[in-house]
Amino acid sequence: MLTVLTHRQVIVWIERTAEVMKANRDTLTELDAAIGDADHGNNMDRGYQAAVAKLPGDETDVGAILRSLSMALISKVGGAAGPLYGTFFLQASNALKGRTELTEADVERLLETGIDGVMMRGKAQAGEKTMLDALIPARDAFATARGRGASLTDCLEAATEAAGQGMRATIPMIATKGRASYLGERSRGHQDPGATSSYLILKTLTEIAQEGRTAS
């Protein structure tokens, strides 16, 4: 039974997410072409490659690792996603400073403080067809699962499951924040690229936890 994520696993999360972003680059960009400016996949790919390049490989402080990720995303992603994901991980890194492993409570805090950062920076709410529509349900599902005593892996699975639902739920939404908002009614019928990248980030973490479970 996996009870914590080690600093090593956090590093692997970043490395693995970089692979996932590369593999999904065209998909994300195509989603962005439909309701945005066709760069989200390129942005996330570029950002995560930079994050991997700058990874402090022997760092054990998860706060420091996430801070390094945040800085790379802030200085390499650009667009809306850069400051938003950058702030997500910056806030999380502040909250997790000094931790060398993450408990369930820590992961919940990571999500919570990260989301607060995104909302502070982007001033969006749930339901505006943004990454928040994947992140908020994920956090809520995580908290609920944890409340009923689920394992870390189970909590993450519940979170990813909810993020996926939230991501798909963006399809019928009308965007009211970000570039897609200019389309008004015409933004309906398309899945939000940012919600999709958020889902992928969480899914990757969950897979690492699952492997940890299998391995242990």
Binding site: G78, A80, L84, G178
Partner: protein, 357 residues
Amino acid sequence: MKKLINDPEDVTREQLEGLALAHPDLLEVHFDPTFVKARQAPEAGKVAILSGGGSGHEPMHAGYVGRGMLDAACPGQVFTSPTPDQMLEAGKAVAGGRGILQIVKNYTGDVMNFQMAADLLREEGIAVRNIVIDDDVAVKDSTYTAGRRGTGTTVIAEKICGAAAVAGYDLDRLAQLCRRVNLRGKSMGMALTSCIVPQNGRPTFEIGEDEIEIGIGIHGEPGVERIGIETADAITEILAGHILDDGPYARTLTEWDPDRDDWVEVEVVDETLVKGDRLIALVNGMGGTPLSELYTVYARLHALVEASGMSIVRRLIGPYMTSLEMQGISITLVKADDELLRLFDAPVHTAGLRWGC
């Protein structure tokens, strides 16, 4: 995809290398992070004017770096806002002791990145004000959208603020001036074709041979309405109609309050255009539009403005703020006054705009 490029991943760097080689008298290009700096900056005793945004809009912004306009520009990836570290390094390189005015186009990414940059620059002890340009009347409301986009008024604001900085305006006055230009500027655009982002290799949107997009942005994003193709006159009437009839547009913008030492939300309202107004007009080509078509549009615009009892007293006609090779135009009208005209007329020498010297 047919483009005069080498590696699609390198287009931003390569064009900047050309810019540096072509205009060594005017500017310097720095990489890692990327910014373009006016040769003579920093100038002690002058507020520095800094702008930036995604690449693909050339000559904006790097082509407006030089004398009498921008002190620095930060080009992002194609259609992607630049990152705070670029503005931080650019700002440190050009700050002349009287602070920095950042002129920011109203796109979620740009606004956030320039805010983060302002915070970083302030940590370095540099006074910074961000003024957001949100002039695109194609976007009707600010409650259900990210607000009006920043388009053609940006070019006029950069010219006017650049001249005002040379004339010795302090940071406070410059921020006010820039806000005033923004509240007096209105734009709207349309596209005949999509553009192709080099990294993507295919058109951002599909559009039929007999369709046009009205209310297009400058990033290849779809517009607010798709209609059948029309004559130049009819298209000009649609765009100019939206601009001339635009009512007072109220919205909340985030600005830095130096007294409260914090970001504050300020409510601002656009001026509407009225009879007797003297206007600065920009008939802007989107990159693939021949100049001849812009003049055809100008002829109709001129007549429409006159028929509304206003007059165009200055004009720019050409590709000043583009979307790669997109065919299309945008029209911008800025309500002028003696001060704005004096500053508009002041000498400028940049790669993209030059007069008076």
